[in-house]
């Protein structure tokens, strides 16, 4: 219980900090300018550091996890995606992992039945929930481009229109908002109600979920319920994009809570499991070609070993071998 309540209390406290700071202490400049810049710097520097750190680690041997026939004789049908042999095949594999979560699709659930028999069944819910969660968050983030650029890039514009496709309610209802809220609820509930997952869940699993949930919830509240004037928000965002330092205009406090939680998320990102965003691309069990049989991979930090060939050995001992009656290759 404590491992759920602690992160929840932390997110609530963070939200309260921003609320009190802006509503009562009038720290608009701190929460609107200083903290977002700091968080952005921490995010970019931390992210690059983690990636660089992973990149310079040597990966001497091929350790891809495979689930298909590797390239062999011509007449044996091979599986290019499950057991990649060329770089582009490995790239296709990584991309399908990133975009479609292929390995989660194979998720299998083990269940002890009432009659004490163990049953396995395909379980696609995690895959579906994860996909809905990540994609809707991506769409939401890209859609926010309309606050960050004076000339909004075309694809963000397109996303915005596609997302408000139903054209119900004003301000227009975004499909991704509903999907994100539903998916977060499902992912949290999964950790609560599945005993096995509850067992292995840590506070560091709940914290980002609650944090992102809080951000989405406040965003949805600001859009549909307690609206605030969007003009000064865009002023502030354009200013941040231009590295300006003017104090923000009159914006509702809820916006600062939203912004502060996002700042916390950004700063926390490189320190946490959220780094799987960059790490998935560098995962050696996914991005390596399975070509150990075709190509010799030598461990780069092996010291040079002086090998002695058989012919050298025979040169040394030829006479003795002949005396002992052993066969020799060269007379």
């Amino acid at each position: 219980m404590k491992k759920v309540l602690m992160p929840l209390a932390m997110v609530a406290t963070l939200a309260l900090v921003a609320y009190v700071g802006v509503e009562f202490l009038k720290l608009q400049f701190i929460f609107g300018v200083v903290i977002p810049y700091t968080a952005a710097v921490l995010f970019v520097a931390g992210f690059l550091f983690r990636i660089a750190d992973w990149l310079i680690r040597p990966v001497p041997f091929r350790i891809p996890t495979t689930a298909g026939q590797e390239k062999s004789l011509d007449w044996i049908r091979r599986n290019p995606i499950e057991s990649p042999h060329r770089a582009w095949e490995a790239a296709a594999r990584v991309l399908s992992e990133v975009l479609l979560f292929r390995s989660l699709f194979r998720n299998i659930r083990a269940e002890l039945r009432k009659d004490a028999s163990l049953a396995y069944a395909s379980n696609k819910w995690l895959w579906l929930g994860g996909l809905a969660f990540h994609w809707s968050l991506l769409v939401i983030v890209l859609r926010h481009a309309r606050f960050f650029f004076a000339m909004v890039p075309g694809f963000a514009d397109f996303l915005d229109h596609a997302d408000s496709f139903f054209d119900v309610t004003l301000p227009a209802f975004y499909i991704s908002d509903a999907i994100a809220l539903g998916a977060i609820t499902f992912l949290v509930a999964r950790r609560f109600f599945d005993a096995k997952v509850r067992m292995i869940s840590l506070p560091t699993d709940y914290f980002p979920l609650f944090l992102i949930g809080g951000i989405v919830l406040i965003g949805v509240l600001m859009r549909y319920v307690v609206r605030l004037n969007v003009m000064p928000v865009k002023d502030l965002m354009l200013q941040l994009m231009n590295f300006g330092f003017d104090p923000p205009g009159e914006i509702g406090t809820l916006f600062y809570v939203h912004l502060f939680l996002i700042s916390v998320l950004l700063a926390y990102f490189p320190l946490s499991k959220l780094m799987h965003m960059g790490g998935i691309f560098l995962s050696p069990t996914r991005n390596l070609c399975n070509n150990s049989r075709e190509k010799r991979h030598v461990n780069p930090w092996n010291s040079d070993i002086k090998f002695r060939t058989y012919s050298e050995y025979e040169d040394d001992f030829r006479e003795k071998m002949k005396k002992a009656g052993l066969p020799v290759e060269k007379q």
Partner: protein, 128 residues
Amino acid sequence: MRINKTILTIGLPALLMFALLAFFRQSGNAVEAPKAPPAPVAVDSTKCIAQTEYMRANHMKVLYEWRNSSVREGNRVFIAQNGSRFQKSLKTCLGCHATNRLFCFNCHMYANVRPKCWNCHLSPMETP
């Protein structure tokens, strides 16, 4: 026999449709024909229909409420807090905000929203 069947397959659904239609025509919430727009009471045109600060953030919610209540419930008159009466229509907004044709668009271009209202309704850019 064959002809009877065809008559049945076409006739029965048709009959059903007519029955349904008749039913809904009767049971539908009959909305009164819109009355003539409210007599133009002297309106204070220096103030918006609600507080300016509220309008900046919430004008689309006002429009949403107006559209639903006037088109669906036939309640076409909006009474502002100071007692002035307005016809619930986009035209009302433009009546006061006509001096600047770009009044709606300036903000919307800046915030990158493109309300679809002007697809059908008269846009401030089209008024003479």
